[in-house]
């Protein structure tokens, strides 16, 4: 073992022979001075990604804005949905509508049709907001139409009574 201790000792002596404390301190001082200087390279490094990041953010924002302005609104699809619902509705309840004077009024005056259409649309939008299934939309509309016809009839009856 002592042979290898001697070997270590020899290695240490050889290493220390070339070792100069002043050179070591000088090198260290230089490194410390570099460390203390505000690093310009670091600043440029941070600046570039910052520019790239802000550009990406700006592009994303512009993209989002363009989708708001240039893409067709969901209203078109809503309209199609309403038309389909109407087709279903009238195929099932066409006879009901024919039975009531409301249908006669709708046929007679365009403004009344317009009002009617929008009242139906409002009902559909309200139902859609609640995420009701399509079958429910048809059923609910049917109920609304029946109720409105019933109320209309009742009101007419009431006003007739009052007139008496």
């Amino acid at each position: 073992m002592s042979e290898y201790i001697d070997l270590i000792q020899k290695e240490k002596e050889e290493a220390l022979r070339d070792y100069r404390e002043d050179v070591f301190s000088l090198r260290l001082d230089q490194k410390i001075a570099e460390e203390n200087q505000p690093s310009r390279s670091y600043a440029s490094w941070i600046r570039k990604p910052a520019i790239a990041g802000s550009t990406v953010l700006l592009i994303l924002f512009l993209g989002w804005l363009s989708t708001k302005f240039f893409l067709p609104s969901s209203f078109g699809s809503e309209e199609m949905h309403i038309k389909n619902t109407f087709v279903q509705l009238f195929s099932q309840h066409g006879t009901i509508l024919n039975q009531y004077p409301l249908q006669v009024e709708l046929d007679a005056e365009k403004s009344a049709i317009y009002e009617f259409e929008w009242s139906i649309k409002r009902v559909i939008f309200a139902i859609q907001r609640e995420n009701a299934p399509d079958e429910d939309i048809v059923q609910n509309l049917s109920k609304v139409l029946q109720n409105s016809a019933f109320l209309n009839k009742a009101e007419k009856g009431k006003s007739g009574e009052l007139n008496i």
């Binding site: 073992m1 290898y4 220390l16 070792y19 490194k31």
Partner: protein, 180 residues
């Protein structure tokens, strides 16, 4: 408020000066640090670079040092950790072993020098093969010339543990060299 700020500034300056003094004191151990690095590495050139890195780390982190009286052991710990990280990154055992072998095979080298280099290569290889804890104790003792107490403080272990690790390390080196 201004008076308090003034006192605070004085306190801050005093601490800064104290830390500067501590760093100056740490600089007196540069040869020890260099030799510790030599023990962990394969050549003096790497050891010099490692010692520079150790002091740079110490300079950067001297603010985190709470016990100024234990700064010396803190420095030795930095040395040990820096060397271990260096070994992990550069796979010293393979690269430098090749360099050492190349030196030995150089036909210009005298025979005695070749024998010396071969013995040194065997020893370095044996040190590298030691379990980490044993290697720490061995290098700090044989290269850094630290006392048992200093090793215990540096590695934060008991005196008995230092002795047993050193004993096992020496035994292992003996066996490895015999085996080679």
């Amino acid at each position: 408020m201004e008076i308090l700020a003034g006192i605070d500034m004085i306190g801050y300056t005093a601490v800064k000066e104290k830390k500067s003094q501590v760093f100056e004191e740490l600089m007196t151990y540069q040869k020890k640090v260099f030799l510790i690095c030599l023990g962990f590495s394969w050549n003096a050139s790497d050891a010099q670079d490692l010692a520079q890195e150790v002091y740079l780390k110490a300079y950067k982190n001297i603010g985190t040092l709470t016990e100024l009286s234990l700064a010396k052991f803190w420095l030795f710990r930095i040395a040990r950790n820096t060397c271990l990280n260096f070994q992990k990154k550069h796979r010293l055992d393979r690269i430098s072993a090749f360099e050492m072998t190349r030196k030995i095979k150089d036909p210009q080298t005298p025979e005695s020098e070749m024998i010396h280099q071969e013995q040194l290569r065997l020893l370095k290889g044996a040190i590298q093969k030691l379990p980490k804890k044993q290697r720490d104790a061995f290098v700090l003792k044989e290269y850094g010339d630290l006392s048992y107490q200093e090793i215990a403080e540096t590695l934060k272990i008991g005196l008995g543990t230092v002795m047993s690790r050193l004993n096992r390390a020496r035994q292992a080196i003996k066996e490895q060299i015999k085996g080679d």
